[in-house]
Protein backbone atom coordinates (compact mmCIF):
# COMPACT_ATOMS: atom_id res chain seq x y z
CA UNK A 1 0.00 0.00 0.00
CA UNK A 2 1.63 3.24 -1.12
CA UNK A 3 -1.03 5.60 0.23
CA UNK A 4 -3.03 5.31 3.37
CA UNK A 5 -5.66 7.45 5.05
CA UNK A 6 -5.84 6.54 8.71
CA UNK A 7 -7.68 7.56 11.84
CA UNK A 8 -4.93 6.11 14.03
CA UNK A 9 -1.74 7.93 15.14
CA UNK A 10 1.08 7.80 12.56
CA UNK A 11 4.43 6.32 13.56
CA UNK A 12 7.05 7.36 10.98
CA UNK A 13 9.80 4.91 12.00
CA UNK A 14 8.20 1.74 10.57
CA UNK A 15 7.44 3.68 7.38
CA UNK A 16 11.12 4.40 6.85
CA UNK A 17 11.94 0.74 7.30
CA UNK A 18 9.13 -0.29 4.95
CA UNK A 19 10.50 1.53 1.89
CA UNK A 20 14.24 0.92 2.31
CA UNK A 21 15.99 -1.85 0.39
CA UNK A 22 19.69 -2.74 0.27
CA UNK A 23 19.97 -0.90 -3.04
CA UNK A 24 18.96 2.38 -1.39
CA UNK A 25 21.55 4.76 0.00
CA UNK A 26 18.98 7.27 1.24
CA UNK A 27 15.50 7.53 2.67
CA UNK A 28 13.90 10.97 2.90
CA UNK A 29 11.18 11.43 5.50
CA UNK A 30 8.81 14.37 5.77
CA UNK A 31 6.60 14.63 8.83
CA UNK A 32 3.90 17.28 9.09
CA UNK A 33 2.80 18.04 12.66
CA UNK A 34 0.09 20.07 14.32
CA UNK A 35 1.42 23.37 15.68
CA UNK A 36 -0.05 25.34 18.51
CA UNK A 37 -0.51 28.65 16.71
CA UNK A 38 -2.07 29.48 13.34
CA UNK A 39 -3.04 32.84 11.91
CA UNK A 40 -2.09 34.37 15.22
CA UNK A 41 -4.61 32.28 17.16
CA UNK A 42 -4.04 29.55 19.68
CA UNK A 43 -4.85 26.16 18.16
CA UNK A 44 -6.45 23.54 20.38
CA UNK A 45 -6.77 20.81 17.75
CA UNK A 46 -7.13 20.18 14.02
CA UNK A 47 -9.83 18.16 12.30
CA UNK A 48 -9.12 16.62 8.92
CA UNK A 49 -11.63 15.23 6.45
CA UNK A 50 -11.12 13.84 2.94
CA UNK A 51 -12.94 12.87 -0.19
CA UNK A 52 -11.35 9.52 0.45
CA UNK A 53 -11.88 7.78 -2.87
CA UNK A 54 -10.62 10.74 -4.86
CA UNK A 55 -7.75 11.36 -2.44
CA UNK A 56 -6.57 7.82 -3.18
CA UNK A 57 -6.94 8.33 -6.93
CA UNK A 58 -5.22 11.72 -6.90
CA UNK A 59 -2.34 10.50 -4.75
CA UNK A 60 -1.85 7.54 -7.10
CA UNK A 61 -1.54 10.06 -9.97
CA UNK A 62 1.00 12.11 -8.00
CA UNK A 63 3.03 9.01 -7.13
CA UNK A 64 3.07 8.09 -10.81
CA UNK A 65 4.22 11.61 -11.69
CA UNK A 66 7.03 11.52 -9.13
CA UNK A 67 8.33 8.27 -10.61
CA UNK A 68 8.50 9.80 -14.07
CA UNK A 69 10.52 12.76 -12.76
CA UNK A 70 12.94 11.31 -10.24
CA UNK A 71 15.11 8.23 -9.85
CA UNK A 72 13.56 6.68 -6.78
CA UNK A 73 12.73 3.36 -5.24
CA UNK A 74 9.67 2.87 -3.06
CA UNK A 75 7.58 5.79 -1.77
CA UNK A 76 4.71 5.94 0.71
CA UNK A 77 2.35 8.61 1.97
CA UNK A 78 0.18 8.34 5.06
CA UNK A 79 -2.34 11.04 6.02
CA UNK A 80 -4.29 11.17 9.25
CA UNK A 81 -8.02 11.97 9.39
CA UNK A 82 -10.23 13.00 12.30
CA UNK A 83 -9.25 15.08 15.32
CA UNK A 84 -5.54 15.70 16.04
CA UNK A 85 -4.01 17.28 19.11
CA UNK A 86 -1.08 19.71 19.01
CA UNK A 87 2.14 17.79 18.33
CA UNK A 88 0.50 14.90 16.50
CA UNK A 89 1.53 13.89 13.00
CA UNK A 90 -0.89 14.78 10.21
CA UNK A 91 1.14 13.45 7.29
CA UNK A 92 4.25 11.35 6.74
CA UNK A 93 5.98 10.88 3.40
CA UNK A 94 8.90 8.50 2.87
CA UNK A 95 10.94 8.12 -0.30
CA UNK A 96 13.80 5.67 -0.81
CA UNK A 97 16.44 6.19 -3.47
CA UNK A 98 19.95 5.10 -4.36
CA UNK A 99 21.12 8.68 -3.70
CA UNK A 100 20.14 11.55 -1.41
CA UNK A 101 19.27 14.01 -4.17
CA UNK A 102 16.53 11.86 -5.67
CA UNK A 103 15.06 11.05 -2.27
CA UNK A 104 15.03 14.65 -1.03
CA UNK A 105 13.76 16.21 -4.26
CA UNK A 106 11.05 13.60 -4.74
CA UNK A 107 9.93 14.03 -1.12
CA UNK A 108 9.68 17.79 -1.56
CA UNK A 109 7.77 17.33 -4.81
CA UNK A 110 5.32 14.93 -3.15
CA UNK A 111 4.43 17.17 -0.20
CA UNK A 112 4.05 20.23 -2.45
CA UNK A 113 1.82 18.42 -4.96
CA UNK A 114 -0.16 16.76 -2.19
CA UNK A 115 -0.98 20.10 -0.60
CA UNK A 116 -2.02 21.56 -3.96
CA UNK A 117 -4.18 18.77 -5.30
CA UNK A 118 -5.28 16.05 -2.91
CA UNK A 119 -8.82 16.59 -1.60
CA UNK A 120 -8.17 16.74 2.13
CA UNK A 121 -9.39 19.61 4.32
CA UNK A 122 -8.31 20.96 7.65
CA UNK A 123 -10.49 22.67 10.22
CA UNK A 124 -8.56 24.63 12.81
CA UNK A 125 -10.18 24.66 16.21
CA UNK A 126 -9.03 27.58 18.36
CA UNK A 127 -9.60 28.35 21.99
CA UNK A 128 -12.20 30.84 20.78
CA UNK A 129 -13.71 29.50 17.56
CA UNK A 130 -12.96 27.39 14.49
CA UNK A 131 -12.43 27.77 10.74
CA UNK A 132 -12.06 25.60 7.65
CA UNK A 133 -8.72 26.40 6.06
CA UNK A 134 -8.59 27.14 2.37
CA UNK A 135 -12.02 28.69 2.25
CA UNK A 136 -11.79 32.47 2.44
CA UNK A 137 -15.19 33.86 3.23
Amino acid sequence: MTFLLTREPIDPAPLVASVRTDGDGAVALFVGTVRNVARGREVVRLEYEAYEEMARAETARILEEVRSRFEIGAARIVHRLGALAVGETSIAIVVASAHRTGALEACRFLIDRFKERVPVWKREVYRDGAAWIGERS
Binding site: G32, Y48, E49, A50, Y51, E53, M54, A55, A57, E58, H79, S90, I91, I111, F114, K115, E116, R117, V118, P119, V120, W121, K122, R123, W132, I133, G134, E135, R136, S137
Partner: protein, 80 residues
Protein backbone atom coordinates in the same frame (compact mmCIF):
# COMPACT_ATOMS: atom_id res chain seq x y z
CA UNK B 1 -30.68 12.66 -16.24
CA UNK B 2 -29.52 12.30 -12.69
CA UNK B 3 -26.15 12.88 -10.99
CA UNK B 4 -25.00 12.49 -7.42
CA UNK B 5 -23.45 15.67 -6.02
CA UNK B 6 -21.00 15.60 -3.10
CA UNK B 7 -19.94 18.44 -0.81
CA UNK B 8 -16.98 18.65 1.52
CA UNK B 9 -15.65 20.73 4.41
CA UNK B 10 -17.18 24.22 4.57
CA UNK B 11 -19.39 23.52 1.57
CA UNK B 12 -20.84 20.45 3.27
CA UNK B 13 -21.67 22.52 6.33
CA UNK B 14 -23.35 25.21 4.23
CA UNK B 15 -25.28 22.64 2.22
CA UNK B 16 -26.38 20.98 5.46
CA UNK B 17 -25.58 17.61 3.87
CA UNK B 18 -22.70 15.71 2.29
CA UNK B 19 -24.58 14.76 -0.85
CA UNK B 20 -27.70 15.33 -2.91
CA UNK B 21 -29.18 13.59 -5.91
CA UNK B 22 -29.85 16.06 -8.67
CA UNK B 23 -32.49 15.06 -11.21
CA UNK B 24 -33.88 16.64 -14.34
CA UNK B 25 -30.58 17.74 -15.88
CA UNK B 26 -30.75 17.96 -19.67
CA UNK B 27 -28.45 15.88 -21.87
CA UNK B 28 -25.29 17.84 -22.54
CA UNK B 29 -25.41 19.51 -19.11
CA UNK B 30 -22.01 20.64 -17.86
CA UNK B 31 -20.35 20.94 -14.47
CA UNK B 32 -21.29 24.63 -14.63
CA UNK B 33 -24.96 23.68 -15.10
CA UNK B 34 -24.75 21.29 -12.15
CA UNK B 35 -23.34 24.04 -10.00
CA UNK B 36 -26.09 26.41 -11.07
CA UNK B 37 -28.79 23.83 -10.26
CA UNK B 38 -27.18 23.13 -6.89
CA UNK B 39 -27.09 26.83 -6.03
CA UNK B 40 -30.78 27.13 -6.87
CA UNK B 41 -31.49 24.38 -4.39
CA UNK B 42 -29.01 25.59 -1.76
CA UNK B 43 -28.61 29.37 -2.04
CA UNK B 44 -26.07 29.27 0.81
CA UNK B 45 -23.58 27.76 -1.66
CA UNK B 46 -23.70 30.67 -4.08
CA UNK B 47 -20.35 32.33 -4.80
CA UNK B 48 -18.39 29.99 -2.52
CA UNK B 49 -15.16 29.19 -4.36
CA UNK B 50 -14.87 25.53 -5.27
CA UNK B 51 -13.17 23.29 -7.78
CA UNK B 52 -15.13 20.41 -9.26
CA UNK B 53 -14.39 16.74 -9.79
CA UNK B 54 -16.28 14.26 -11.92
CA UNK B 55 -15.86 10.59 -11.09
CA UNK B 56 -12.80 11.24 -8.88
CA UNK B 57 -10.92 13.53 -11.30
CA UNK B 58 -10.68 17.32 -11.38
CA UNK B 59 -12.95 18.65 -14.11
CA UNK B 60 -13.33 22.11 -15.70
CA UNK B 61 -16.72 23.93 -15.67
CA UNK B 62 -17.34 23.07 -19.32
CA UNK B 63 -17.00 19.32 -18.75
CA UNK B 64 -20.18 17.52 -19.88
CA UNK B 65 -21.67 15.19 -17.27
CA UNK B 66 -23.43 11.91 -17.92
CA UNK B 67 -26.27 10.11 -16.20
CA UNK B 68 -25.02 8.45 -13.03
CA UNK B 69 -21.88 10.58 -12.70
CA UNK B 70 -20.55 11.57 -9.28
CA UNK B 71 -19.89 15.31 -9.23
CA UNK B 72 -18.03 16.72 -6.24
CA UNK B 73 -17.54 20.36 -5.28
CA UNK B 74 -14.25 20.88 -3.49
CA UNK B 75 -13.30 23.96 -1.50
CA UNK B 76 -9.61 24.87 -1.81
CA UNK B 77 -7.80 21.88 -0.33
CA UNK B 78 -5.79 22.20 2.89
CA UNK B 79 -4.34 18.78 3.68
CA UNK B 80 -0.77 17.95 4.60
Amino acid sequence: MRVRVLFFAGLRERAGSGSIDLEGLLPGATVRDVRRAVEERCPALASVPAAAAVNLEYAPPERVVADGDEVAFLPPVSGG
